[in-house]
């Protein structure tokens, strides 16, 4: 089994998100986050516990996706964004969204990977320093129906 991982694209992301958020999720290519230190960062490990991928998300995507998963009203989600305070329930839901997003990186031909954790903004440190030389960064904008627009970037650490 190979070690290379899939590169998510707008179609694969939309297909996955439409299963959990309903139809008409809009996904388009966007710029990968220039400064990831203020992002929420999910890290993914290979079977040998090596850090092989990450997904950095802005607060809008974290809040909208987490709220949409358990149908928390959009108005409540918008208040969280305005106040800069994301509830533990929404954070837990976002963790599950990232868990499901691990499938975007795998195929039958790739090695397995699993979600390790979600790192809060400002807590990243040098966690992703190894990605600077050999990483691939792919940015996307996601519109979740009835909620709003956020952005996420996949960072894949492979030659």
């Amino acid at each position: 089994m190979g070690t290379s991982y899939e590169h998510p694209n707008p179609a694969s992301i939309a297909d996955l998100f439409e299963i959990i958020f309903g139809e008409n999720v809009g996904v388009s290519d966007g710029a990968a986050a220039a400064d990831i230190t203020d992002q929420h960062t999910a890290t993914f490990l290979d079977p040998n516990d090596n850090l092989v991928a990450a997904c950095t998300c802005d607060s809008a995507f974290v809040t909208y996706s987490g709220a949409a998963l358990s149908m928390i009203p959009a108005e409540v989600a918008n208040e969280m964004i305005e106040d800069g305070e994301i509830t533990d329930e929404v954070k837990a839901n976002f963790f599950e969204v990232m868990n499901i997003c691990s499938k975007l990186l795998m195929s039958d031909a790739s090695a397995h990977l699993r979600l390790e954790k979600v790192i809060a903004p400002g807590q990243l440190g040098d966690t992703l320093s190894a990605f600077e030389e050999s990483g691939t960064a792919l940015g996307f904008t996601v519109d979740i129906p009835r909620y709003g627009r956020g952005s996420l970037s996949f960072l894949i650490n492979q030659p």
Binding site: I20, A92, N93, E96, I100, K103, D108, H112
Partner: protein, 120 residues
């Protein structure tokens, strides 16, 4: 019939229960547990007809729950609902005694197809 849904994510448990209803299995008695430990206690108190469990959970994982049940000679019908859907994971689930593995994210159609046989 009693169905036990086991997942550490309340949102995911809610989605499983909702999908069970949408797939036509809403008439069953559905109970929930947040991890393998809580599920094992629930099952020991009253064995359900079907367990739908996540794989990765704190305290006791889904596969550990299944192995514990089989060690107690409890042969309750057991299926996984998980992102762990590689060929190797499916084989491990089957070897441990699972009847099926539904991949997250799941659809109503997947529930209908798999559970129609198990709950018939």
């Amino acid at each position: 019939m009693k169905i036990l849904v086991v997942d550490d994510s309340p949102a995911m448990r809610m989605m499983v229960v909702r999908t069970l209803r949408q797939a036509g299995f809403g008439g069953n008695d559905v109970e929930q547990a947040e991890d393998g430990v809580a599920a094992l206690e629930n099952i020991r108190a009253s064995t359900p007809d079907l367990v739908l469990a996540d794989w990765n959970m704190p305290n006791m994982t889904g596969i550990e729950l299944l192995e514990a049940l089989r060690a107690e000679e409890n042969n309750v019908d057991f299926g996984f609902i998980t992102t762990e859907s590689t060929t190797a994971m499916r084989q491990k689930a089957t070897d441990a005694g699972a009847k099926f593995l539904i991949s997250k994210p799941f659809t109503v159609e997947a529930f209908e197809k798999v559970l129609a046989t198990v709950l018939s």
